[in-house]
């Protein structure tokens, strides 16, 4: 029997059929029909954010923690513009997102109507694709397609802008389209796999270089298998942390700007670099001409535009990295590489990773280690952006893909708290910890209200140096110590602020036994803010100065 439904009801029904169970957003005039329909849905839980950017990052947190496409909603005009940063962030980190925005009625588009903004035009450069829907009928095609595009190939955000008259238009529905899902990926060329295997077998000093694509394609176990079989020391980008457990004997940890010195020096000596789901980002490579100068390159990526973009590959393979690794694995020889392993051990001994103070919970590294000691590999670790982010990347023992949520490509302050809330909503059985800074937390502090309302199991560790620490560091090192606009002359009482939002808070500065206070705070369910002062003079070291080669690191 045919049903007559409005565009709004169709939209909600299509979301339900996609398997969406939680969405985050904020209503407003131009999206009220959809909210009215959403209110009738028993399948979908709506989480009311306090700022649309928060809603966007909550959806990102859900998507990053689970790998499934997540949904955020906003009204037209300021609602849509507030979403943009979270969408751009998802684009740069290849996170599958469907953002649904209300738009003024079609008859009013282009008239500078109240809360009209060209959401379609604004979102072109920051989405994988976008739609302006012109009829209720079209929704039946556009919504499943939006999900298919978001999840297919290299994932990314898709925006669907729906004018209000399309939401209220009623049509008869004869049947429903299949939910949109990821399209099958093209298989790697057998000849390229064979060529890559031969290069791996012939290499004396190979390194496996894992990027976020390994996490996105669910290929982390295969990457570890390949490393073990072919004896490949392995580096990870910021986005790939957790793909190989840090304490795996073949793990060299993070490469690049704030990687360990021995890691970057090993790359300097390698004769083969096997890049998997990585894009040779400048924070990873340093000065490109000096990156792995002696190495041949195998580059495996789902996105053909990534091959030869920064570095020409000797063998380029366009394929889902999981499929390619599965084909590569039986093709490579089992090999131990005693000389190379010994050389790497020597580099590690000569330049041991320096985590000063890691036994003192009142120091930055010690705090991170003390938090980690309260948790296991099931925990989710989110960060904001700044020194604290890099310290956590260096010191937290990440052991599981999708354990680590951080804004890599866009480096967006304000990412941490809402993304962590999203992860906690999507995976309520896990403890989620968010390391944030006193600058970053203020960029989405309003979401503490959402955390309280939803009672998410979220522990926010606020590393408070009363400054924009990473800026302070850059000015100290590269701008003649001329500190300007990087120190706060007045800082909030964050413990009181958190309590004011209705979440419990503890100040480690005041605790006689900070470790005991941490264990107590982390083991209690529900949201909690843990405040700790950090010495503003601490730097993120070692560091590749801007424009320098990775071998020329400074500090520690």
């Amino acid at each position: 029997m045919n049903e007559t439904l409005t565009g709004a009801q169709i939209t909600v029904r299509l979301l339900e059929r996609q398997g969406i169970r939680t969405v985050a957003g904020i209503p407003g005039g131009a999206i009220l029909p959809i909210y009215d329909a959403l209110g009738q849905s028993t399948a979908i839980r709506h989480v009311l954010a306090r700022h649309e950017q928060g809603a966007g990052f909550m959806a990102q947190g859900m998507a990053r923690a689970t790998g499934e496409t997540a949904v955020c909603l906003a009204s037209s005009g300021p609602g849509a513009t507030n979403l943009l940063t979270a969408i751009a962030d998802a684009k740069l980190d290849s996170i599958p997102l469907v953002a649904i925005t209300g738009q003024v009625p079609q008859a009013m588009i282009g008239t500078d109507a109240f809360q009209e903004v060209d959401t379609y035009g604004l979102s072109i450069p920051i989405t994988k694709h976008n739609f302006l829907v012109s009829s209720a009928e079209e929704l039946l095609e556009v919504i499943p397609r939006a999900f298919a595009i978001a999840a297919s190939g290299r994932p990314g955000p898709v925006l669907v802008d729906i004018p209000k008259d399309v939401q209220t238009q009623a049509i008869e529905i004869a049947g429903w389209p299949e939910p949109g899902k990821a399209a099958p990926t093209p298989a790697a060329e057998p000849a390229s796999i064979a060529a890559a295997a031969a290069m791996i077998d012939a290499a004396e000093r190979p390194i496996l270089y894992l990027g976020g694509g390994v996490v996105h394609s669910g290929a982390a176990p295969l990457a570890v298998d390949l490393a073990e079989k072919a004896g490949l020391p392995t580096v990870m980008t910021l986005m790939a942390l957790g793909a190989m457990p840090v304490d795996h004997p073949l793990s060299l940890g993070m490469l690049g700007m704030h990687g360990a010195r021995h890691t970057n020096l090993a790359l300097d000596e390698c004769d083969l670099l096997i890049a998997v789901g990585a894009r040779f980002d400048d924070r990873a490579t340093g000065k490109v001409a000096a990156f792995c100068p002696q190495a041949k390159i195998i580059h495996i990526d789902i996105d053909p535009a990534e091959l030869d973009k920064i570095k020409a590959a000797h063998v380029g393979i366009v394929a889902d990295v999981g499929q390619a690794l599965a084909e590569l694995l039986p093709a490579v020889a089992t090999r131990a590489r005693p000389a190379w392993t010994a050389r790497i051990a020597a580099l590690q001994a000569a330049f041991p990773p320096a985590l000063p103070g890691c036994d003192d919970p009142r120091s930055h590294f010690g705090l991170i280690r003390a938090v980690a000691a309260c948790l296991d590999r099931d925990a989710v670790v989110a960060t904001d952006v700044g020194q604290h982010q890099m310290w956590v990347a260096q010191a937290y023992p990440l052991r599981r893909p999708r354990q680590w949520l951080t804004s890599g490509g866009l480096g967006t302050m304000g990412f941490g708290v809402p993304a962590a809330i999203g992860a906690a909503l999507a995976e309520p059985d896990r403890t989620v910890v968010c390391f944030t800074g006193d600058g970053s937390i203020l960029m989405n502090i309003q979401e503490l209200a959402t955390a309280a309302e939803e009672s998410v199991n979220l522990k926010i560790v606020l590393m408070d140096n009363a400054s924009l620490g990473l800026v302070h560091q850059q000015q100290t090192l590269f701008y003649g110590e001329r500190l300007f606009a990087s120190q706060f002359r007045r800082t909030p009482d964050f413990v009181a602020v958190a309590r004011g939002f209705g979440i419990s808070a503890v100040d480690l500065d005041q605790a006689a036994n900070p470790c005991a206070a941490l264990i107590d705070a982390i083991s209690r369910p529900g949201p909690c803010l843990i405040h700790a002062s950090i010495d503003v003079e601490q730097k993120v070291y070692p560091m590749v100065p801007p424009g320098a080669a990775n071998r020329d690191m400074i500090g520690a």
Binding site: Y120, G121, I124, P125, K128, H129, N130, L132, I149, D303, P304, A305, D308, K309
Partner: protein
């Protein structure tokens, strides 16, 4: 920039791309914007309906520079783009009289 001298004009090399797309309101801004956002000047544009009317063919004349192949790969990734090919400049040479008038 001021109109360049004829001699200078000769030296700048150009590429003409033929791009087949699905036709809808946003497709031109997706395609053209991809070049302009990368600071690549689009010097000539032609767009005509093709085949069944649900498709269009776009010709673009752009500056040929070492970054062009990377830009073409990005254009190929656009959801509404079916194919991109380099072609000769004949189409715009035949039209050049229009601008003179």
């Amino acid at each position: 920039m001021n109109a360049s001298l004829p001699a200078e004009n000769q030296r700048l090399s150009r590429a003409v791309l033929r791009i087949d797309v699905t036709d809808h309101a946003g497709v031109m801004s997706h395609v053209v914007g991809l070049f302009s956002r990368r600071a690549c000047n689009v010097e000539a544009i032609l767009c005509l309906p093709a085949g069944d009317g649900r498709h269009s063919r776009i010709w673009l004349q752009v500056e040929d520079n070492p970054r062009l192949p990377a830009m073409i790969r990005q254009v190929e990734k656009l959801i509404d783009v079916q194919s991109v090919a380099r072609c000769d400049a004949g189409i715009f040479e035949r039209l050049s009289g229009l601008a003179a008038g």
